[in-house]
Symmetry: none
Subunit: 225 residues, 4 copies
DNA sequence: TATGAATGAGTATTCATTCAT
DNA sequence: CATGAATGAATACTCATTCAT
């Protein structure tokens, strides 16, 4: 029962395929993020997209296909957003900070994308979990590589007490978890979130307790939130 | 098609209600952890439990109820396991370390419990997310309170750069993420996992890079894995 | 929308599984014979059976399964009916005649069974066609064996002009075709139908034209239609 | 997903209507014979024809129309082929034999046509069955008339034991059934097939058993396969 | 107490058919 | 003339849930 009063974007107008596909993917991300994979219905997606169900199947395949393509698009967006924020000629800590800022900015701006990626992608067994894990791995390598390698140069990884992969997993988990927390605290800017995390992983409780604080150095960032 | 010749545990015997409920919850946790909330079917649960479906409804209510009660039982188990591990008369860092060890031991031993709590509970909208969040909050307060409060004594929280809640969320996220990672690396003992995390959150990269390493002090732990 | 005024057999009463299965198969044969495999809808079958769709799936499986089981049951019925009619101690021609009579009696009495077997079973590709072909083959061997072997004894099959299998196929086709024709001419008794066919395949046009006629010999048949 | 690089026959070229219609009917017969009426999709037909779906609807109407026209065209072809083979100045048995040969030649050469006519046309309720029956009737009258009338001259039909229509139905059924059988035995020539059938219906088992055999008389046939 | 029997309600998917260009 | 774009309508199948026994 599509409401007559609110017409979704350009219903039933003959639009080129590419446009329709975008519309559908937008709707899919929205609906999947709201209800999760299983509870989302193709009916609702088609309604939100302003497109009939057959079009979805024609253009993007089955529900599973659609979910996969949604995931993929959003994952790409997220990684690109992060990469765009990193400035390779800065010192490692500043790079990490900038990467984190981009990440939190993305999460704030594209809540739905983040929800789909972080929460919903895990609910579907196998294939998607793998895809998400792959993306997470890329994220780990992208964001944390610099830190780990920085440490490695000084012999960090050589110590028996340490595992690069395990540490990276922990770091990414911390960043994600803080992102989730931040969704309920929109008043905290991405710069501050990034700084918090830097204090945690860069300085650690010990230094914090001693009164040391990590701060982004001025001149190295355009707009602090 | 369950063959008649292989009888599931105690099928159709008159058993006291409490026993039945435990059987059912055990089965529910198992099945939910395998397939997730939506894909799990009451049929499979009843089959695994060796109990007819009407019994499940009589004893534990709807599927949603059943899931909620599963979550609750496992959450309690987890918290109790952690609490049992903490020794209040040790210094804060050792307390944290012991708590983390208990946590990783629990995850390793009760994979299914952990899966249900960590992965599956999020897939169901609203009610359960809240319950899980509550448990997480309790976990944060339980495990991290000492650290944060330790810092607070020295004025940590007063600094604008810092948020107890946010930091705790990050810490818990790190611990969870490392737990997930550890599921695929069973050769890493819980003591080592806990130490890694201590190095991350207690010392931070900066100190690590400088060559400092956090270690549990001997005599304060019974069996290091 | 099941009509309230005409209640199908015992709707919603708790009946033993075997009874339900029979009801469902009866309905399936009816509906499949009317509309063919593809056009038949599970909804209609369930309605006719006086049973909800889930029961059908629980008891008899998918639509394809259901069709297969319908076919099988009717094929068995048909073959048994024919076998029951044959009297092995009679001369070959009388045996054939009796077999044919049984066949035509069955077709007249169980129109729907015959329709499903003869018409509808071919519409579904592969698996069922094979099954039907198998049954046809059994029929050929059952009914025509005596004739062919009778001929063989005198060297019939040795002649290059002849193929047992091909001839049998033709004979069965003739019998089936006449059965179809008879459906529209219910006034012709099964005895007469069988006699016609005997005249065709036993005597052939040549002898008929010469005035010879094949007739069942009296005393060898109970009730001539 | 038809690739752009491999163009189906003459796609999108302006062609006269008659040509298009033939292309479409050819494709339709092909697809209908492969999948049957219901499983055949207009999409596949349009693809095979190299013509867009709207053209099919414009030129030949609905799916049902299309099927009907396919049937009609093939039926006409078949009848014409048979008629072309009959030579009216020969004796009845030779006429019948020649007609049968033409029939088997056609079936061998145009498998798809035959499949559509014999198998698929029956799967669609009502309208088409009638059309096919009509054609069958014409076939009966065409091929069998001579035989029956030959017999009639000598009083055959007068005998109570006999029905021209029923016998014809049986004869046609035998011929068809043998045609089906022959599809799986392409090594048997049309001449031999026709001879087999002649032996069955002309001489009958009785004479065959006695050693009599019907043979086409030399000089009356051009090329025996 | 315990369960086999039964179903209402919902969902993904497909296909013949038709506009707008 | 010719078609890519679009959909209404139908259908097989599943699952949580509840009686009647």
């Amino acid at each position: 029962m599509p409401d007559e009063e609110q017409r979704p974007p350009e219903r039933a107008r003959r639009l080129p395929r590419a446009v329709r596909e975008r519309q559908i993917l937008d709707a899919a991300v929205q609906v999947f993020s709201r209800h999760g994979y299983h509870s989302a219905s193709m009916d609702e997606i088609s309604e939100v997209a302003g497109v009939s169900k057959p079009m979805i199947y024609t253009y993007l395949g089955s529900k599973e296909d659609l979910f996969g393509k949604s995931i993929q698009r959003e994952a790409t967006r997220l990684l690109e957003a992060i990469q765009a924020g990193v400035q390779p000629d800065l010192p490692p800590d500043m790079q990490l900070w900038h990467g984190l800022r981009s990440f939190y900015r993305f999460v704030a701006e594209y809540r739905e994308s983040w929800t789909v990626l972080h929460r919903q992608a895990l609910t579907v067994g196998g294939a998607f979990a793998a895809e998400i894990t792959a993306m997470r791995t890329r994220a780990i390598e992208l964001v944390a590589a610099l830190v780990v390698s920085a440490g490695t140069r000084k012999g960090l990884a050589q110590q028996a007490e340490f595992s690069g992969a395990g540490l990276s997993a922990a770091l990414v988990g911390a960043a994600e978890s803080l992102a989730d927390w931040a969704l309920d605290h929109p008043e905290i800017s991405d710069g501050v979130l990034a700084s918090w995390l830097m204090n945690l992983v860069w300085l650690g409780f010990n230094d914090l307790v001693e009164g040391e604080v990590w701060k982004p150095r001025p001149g190295e960032t355009a707009s602090e939130g």
